[in-house]
Symmetry: C3
Subunit: 356 residues, 3 copies
């Protein structure tokens, strides 16, 4: 992409410029590496994890040689050219998207056209599958009968789509993605390599001799503009679909059990596990490796800390941490109490021994 002037950048991100309006900038970079043609960004407010910038990051900011800084109004630019915005990370994201263009489509280049679509000769599209205009079916893919691939969708390579499953328009499926039967995947989703959607949920009843599998025929319903990280799994529901709402984002290796109902714009960080039947309201954020027990309900906008274990319902907007997860304030007090009692206990033991 062509470079932008500082004043063009201020307009693009909706911020206020201080310094040289005509300075030319061509990309976004890290504080430490940014040079005169680069834009860097720095936030003084704590992010989701509750951590503001550390001493090292503050020092990097002070020493930063970027041609333009994206900062909050309260930050000290020390005379450098800057654009002041409400959210430096949002401004940097908007700007980086401008400079980098859209994320590239991931299909191999050598896929020949077959009528209005492109299908690699080493793909297997069964009779009765429907292919939307300008979709791409890469090498090693298998599209089963009754499946419907939306217009402009991309199955990069070695992707399976099961019977009757639907892939929405312009949705992209990375290498090795497996969609079982009965999955409805919305438009403009991004599904990364080796994700598995719609495998039968983990439901069994003990019959006295063995674990008898309950049929899992509910399928999966995923909204529009959902992103699913590499290696994640979303299981099929038992009688009704497992649901993920529009705009939710799942990091790598996230497990979503059968019948889970996940709202819109939910954030599930890496290695999170959502057990069967759990409900997560719109905008819930779950930190990495946290686990949600089956059938609990987490209210809209709640934040679950990384590695927390949620065993009970959580109110909307609450912030919880720990195992079992409790209000984050209580969690911190419990930790502080235990540390204090441990110190006292040691001091008492030391008194005893010195007194003996």
């Amino acid at each position: 992409m062509d470079p932008l002037t500082a004043s063009e950048i201020a307009a693009l991100v909706g911020g206020q410029l201080e310094g040289e309006p005509g300075r030319l900038l061509s990309r976004v970079r890290d504080l430490r590496e940014a040079g005169p043609e680069d834009v860097a960004f720095f936030s003084i407010h704590p992010g989701l994890g509750g951590r503001g910038p550390g001493l090292a990051e503050r020092a990097d900011f002070a020493a930063c040689k970027a041609g333009l800084l994206l900062i909050e109004s309260a930050a000290d630019a020390a005379g450098r050219t800057c654009v002041r915005v409400k959210s430096p990370s949002l401004a940097a994201t908007i700007l980086a998207r401008h400079f980098c263009g859209l994320p590239p489509r991931n299909e191999p280049s050598a896929i020949p056209p077959r009528g209005p679509v492109r299908i690699h000769p080493q793909a297997l599209v069964e009779e009765g599958a429907t292919l939307g205009a300008a979709c791409v079916i890469g090498p090693g893919c298998v599209v089963r009968s009754g499946a419907a691939i939306g217009a402009g969708a991309v199955l990069s390579e070695r992707v399976s789509v099961g019977k009757g499953s639907i892939v929405g328009e312009r949705t992209q499926l990375g290498p090795g993605v497996v969609i079982y039967a009965g999955v409805h995947l919305g438009a403009r989703c991004m599904v990364h390599a080796n994700v598995v959607i719609g495998a039968p949920g983990f439901g069994y009843a003990w019959d006295g001799k063995r674990h008898l599998a309950m049929p899992q025929v509910g399928g999966v319903q995923i909204g529009n503009e959902v992103e699913i990280g590499a290696g994640s799994c979303v299981d099929a529901g038992t009688f009704r679909p497992t649901v993920i709402g529009d705009g939710s984002i799942l990091d790598n290796m996230v497990q979503v059990g059968h019948n889970a109902q996940i709202g819109r714009a939910v954030v599930l960080c890496g290695q999170v596990g959502v057990s069967g039947g759990a409900k997560l309201g719109d905008g819930v954020i779950v930190g990495g490796q946290a686990g949600i027990t089956g059938h609990v309900s987490i209210g809209a906008g709640a934040v679950v800390g990384g590695s927390a274990t949620v065993g009970n319902d959580i109110k909307p907007g609450a912030s919880v941490q720990g195992m079992p997860a409790v209000d984050i304030g209580l969690y911190r007090r419990m930790q502080a109490t235990l540390r204090r009692l441990t110190r006292q206990s040691r001091a008492a033991a030391s008194d005893d021994s010195s007194g003996g």
Copy 2:
């Protein structure tokens, strides 16, 4: 499948009918969605997780419009047609299996026969591999020399089977499954997409400059009717096989380290990690995300809570929770004690400040 009458259902699940014997039912559904032709089920007893039905579920039960209810003897049917059974979930499973039929075999339909078997032209079966009658080798599969595929086994698509590995009769391997060399997989197993079995275990010795890999030549031995969820990994043993006994069920993204010895009918929920050399007796149940440290032994029938970390041997039949995992009663008392001390500590601080 054809519908069944209420009295036929009572006979099928071994329960006692109350209400209209001739009512026709055609499927099992959730309490909330079930209508006059549907069967629903409801348990008043707590399940494995120790949670009985909540208020919402009790309300759903009270309002349920199902044509037939599967319930325990102590439940109040409020005059509705019902079949009373010992385990409503088992009865529902038996009935759903009747209505839904066996889980469908997962191979693409377009695989041409080659003698007594079916092999897709885009599969690679090396010389010296043995194929049992009526087995199916889908597109993109690689079966190496010395491998033996049992009669009726299905390698759906893009499945690898390593040198000398054995896949039992009627075992089904989902898309993307990778079986390394030296794996014996029993009959009628179900292995879901992207599972990896028999990769070399994680064993190294530090030689002063680098981590030197110990050869892992023990392979894997998996019994009959084992189910392995999507994305799970079972590593090869060092000198003797990693073992999983008959009828055990593993959910998605479960990690089983080298030399682990897992008994029969064991349940490993999603994202569980079993470290190298751990032993799990028959019928052990491990909740989601729990971790089992290397070389510990968990007695038959023990239950490990979700997210627990087991660092010591567990007695047969015990129920443990926490990090480190302790008896579940002790775990709860420890949590209650810490909460009480935290409250007291706060009250004391509040007294101090009001007193000052």
Copy 3:
């Protein structure tokens, strides 16, 4: 491999022989299974997990019928032929590597030569990709334009290598491995089945309506002789590469977030999660299922216990455990304190009730 005499073994592993120098040994086996032609090993010192041999293992050692024992100088051989070494496990590893040979290359046997390389007809190598001498491209692989495969590298089957990515000399990629664009993978690495390297990192900014993805264009830089276990994921950095240093070893299902900087000879056990931007110094060891919060720094040689959650910087050489992770000594005292207070609390309650 041919058998070795006990004295040849002593020379190979640099130890001191006691007993019959001419005894012939042909493999390494477990204590319990070793017979007169086998070598077994036994350590009295605790390993990384802090656990020395248990009673069962000591009994196995006492009863062991191996023709040769690899033991420490302080162990009691009870008159059996033995080689005394500083590290029995290192000696056993050296010896097993001698007997087993190098780990076998994993490509199918039936790949025809195409000039100086071997490419399976069902592989897709785009124009503009570079293939080093004697490399092997198995069936179902896709190598995109601008990718460079090093001499002697092996892409076993169904491996993708993205645009401009580099695979070092003699590196082996197992079935189903996906390398996105912008990845530099060093020489002699071993990457196991279904690993994903270089998928876009999990970075978003909320724009008031949706999570807007930050472009992740930094790629991944992986050193030489790195081993990555099955199903693991290493994400691309945002503006600069995610880094893994020479000789580091990752077990199965490890997640490494964007911008993480992992040093040399680091050990990440199964299911570990390293969040975005975390720094791990050389030789750090992280136990299974542990989680490292974003942007923390772990000093060289530190040890993080299994299932620990690291939320703050850790000093070099420290050993931490718990959630949140603290010094291991403090962790143990905290646990002991809580158990003691729980017992006292119960005794007090019991006094109260008996007194009432």
